[in-house]
């Protein structure tokens, strides 16, 4: 049995999307060309834009296609920084995606002050701390909607209200939430999305920019996307995104599956759930006592189960997950984590769930036998 359970990393392109791509592939014209072929491609793009805008309750003119959320995140920060040069403070959560963190590191080198808002053990940001940190100097607040590692859902409506009151721009990285939970972006200033997390193609995404927001383009050139994002449009990517939002996602079944998997795997002594039971319906981050994540990931890979881990040994900087550090994960659980992320289009069958649970239990046991660090049940850690 082969189980692909790394959907938070990327998803398979849905068969309905492939069908749509096959239909549209004949529309190869450059959307900027004046002839019929170009115009018909442009028309399809505008249809997609309208549909996507409606999906998040915004205007089509506020949706700008990009190569994905990394570009959108870079653009949101760098584009607003250059139009508001007097504002030199950026506020983000302690658990943002590297495309936000590294962009902020780059801004630091240009003299920007970056403030990280702390999170509690479930990964939720401290709203009081956020309120207190906002100042006259704040360019932008950027807080991701759903965390990719542990699935924590942030209260973006409340954050948006706080930012509105304080008259500061609010950006959210909605990569893990778009298409999975309903989003009303009309009260937000900027929002990033990547298509490949919801069964569309890789290399496509968008940045939603609320009308009236002062922002410079990141890419200059031929003037596509109303002069805001030059570069010949990724037409097939856009088509794939338009189709992907139409697909029926089995959120209830996937949530039930998640519940069961968590309940069963938590039976292994010393195991903890990272994030919260109320987190994203498809993300399960678990830490096992006294073992290391990469070795568990490899053993599961040998069994045909694809998952990921945030352990230090599996990162290219040999540093543990900044998300698990921010939530205060203890040293015996910090590196023993795996992330199982489910496909919202195709819930697991009971047989597949059983297989996953069995193999996780077997292999965690195997590694715990090899480890010198043994879990002792006390009244404190029951």
């Amino acid at each position: 049995m082969k189980l692909y359970l790394d959907n938070a990393a990327t998803t398979p392109i849905a068969k309905e999307v492939v069908e749509e791509l096959n239909k549209q592939i004949k529309n190869y014209g450059n959307p900027s060309s004046r002839h019929k072929l170009g115009k018909s491609t442009k028309e399809e793009i505008e249809k997609a834009r309208e549909k996507i805008a409606k999906f998040i309750n915004v205007k089509p003119g506020e949706v700008f296609f990009t190569s994905g959320a990394t570009e959108s995140n870079n653009w949101a920060i760098k584009g607003t920084a250059s139009t508001n040069p007097e504002k030199k403070q950026i506020i983000i959560s302690a658990i943002e995606h590297p495309s936000i963190l590294e962009t902020c590191e780059a801004m630091k080198k240009q003299g920007y002050k970056i403030d990280l808002i702390s999170v509690n053990k479930e990964g939720r940001i401290n709203l009081e701390e956020l309120k207190n940190k906002i100042s006259q100097d704040t360019l932008l607040v950027s807080i991701m909607h759903i965390n990719n590692e542990i699935g924590t859902i942030q209260p973006i409506e409340e954050i948006s209200k706080i930012c509105k009151e304080k008259r500061v721009l609010f950006h959210t990285d909605a990569v893990q939430s778009f298409g999975k939970i309903k989003i009303d972006a009309s009260q937000i200033d900027l929002l990033s999305v990547s298509g490949h997390k919801l069964n569309a193609m890789k290399g496509i995404g968008f940045l939603y920019i609320k009308k009236g927001t002062k922002i410079n383009p990141l890419l200059n050139g031929g003037g596509q996307e109303r002069n805001m994002r030059s570069g010949t449009e990724n037409f097939l990517g856009i088509v794939s995104l338009k189709k992907a939002i139409d697909l029926k996602r089995k959120i209830t079944e996937v949530s039930k599956s998640r519940e069961r998997i968590i309940k069963e795997i938590l039976k292994i002594p010393g195991t903890i759930l990272n994030g919260s039971e109320k987190g994203a319906c498809n993300i399960i981050s678990l830490s096992f006592y006294g073992i290391e994540g990469e070795s568990l990931q490899m053993l599961l890979d040998e069994e045909g189960i694809s998952i990921s881990t945030g352990s230090a040994c599996s990162s290219n900087k040999l540093s543990a997950s900044h998300v698990l550090e921010a939530t205060g994960t203890d040293e015996f659980h910090l590196n023993g984590n795996i992330r199982i992320s489910l496909d919202t289009l195709k819930p697991l069958t009971k047989k597949e769930e059983d297989f996953l649970i069995k193999k996780v239990k077997e292999n965690v046991e195997k590694l715990q036998k090899i480890s010198p660090i043994k879990f002792k049940e006390t009244s404190n850690n029951k």
């Binding site: 290391e292 990469e294 040994c313 290219n316 010198p372």
Partner: protein
């Protein structure tokens, strides 16, 4: 996540490690590493007092595939050797015996060689 291309030998020693476990009444124990880094190795020794040869050696490791494989390999390399010979086993010996390690994982072979030396040092301090 990085893409680690491990050799066949590493995968062998990772999937079926040799000499796992504790030694009751061990003559010496050496432990290195820390959970925060994700690597902890503990080596148990049983030494023949007359010949100073390592009669029995076992390990317990919390760590990535390379950590487990290097632990397993070092116990194989050290078994039956004298303490002097065992002290001379280098991380390069461990890595070479495993048909090489990805550069980013070489530190795991360091840990194995050092953990063995800590165990030997503890033994020598005990008997002196």
């Amino acid at each position: 996540m990085i893409n680690t291309n491990y050799s066949k030998k590493v995968i062998e020693h990772f999937s079926k490690p040799k000499n796992i476990g504790k030694i009751k009444n061990a003559d010496a124990i050496g432990e290195l590493g820390n959970p925060t880094c994700g690597d902890v190795m503990r080596i148990y020794l049983k030494v023949d007092k007359k010949t100073e040869k390592i009669k029995n050696i076992k390990f317990q490791t919390m760590g990535c595939a390379a950590a487990i494989a290097t632990s397993s390999m070092i116990t194989e390399l050290a078994k039956g050797k004298t303490l002097e010979q065992a002290k001379k086993i280098t991380n390069k010996d461990v890595a070479d015996s495993l048909q090489g390690l990805p550069p980013i994982k070489m530190h795991c072979s360091n840990l194995a060689a050092d953990a063995l030396r800590v165990a030997i040092k503890n033994y020598e301090e005990k008997i002196s």
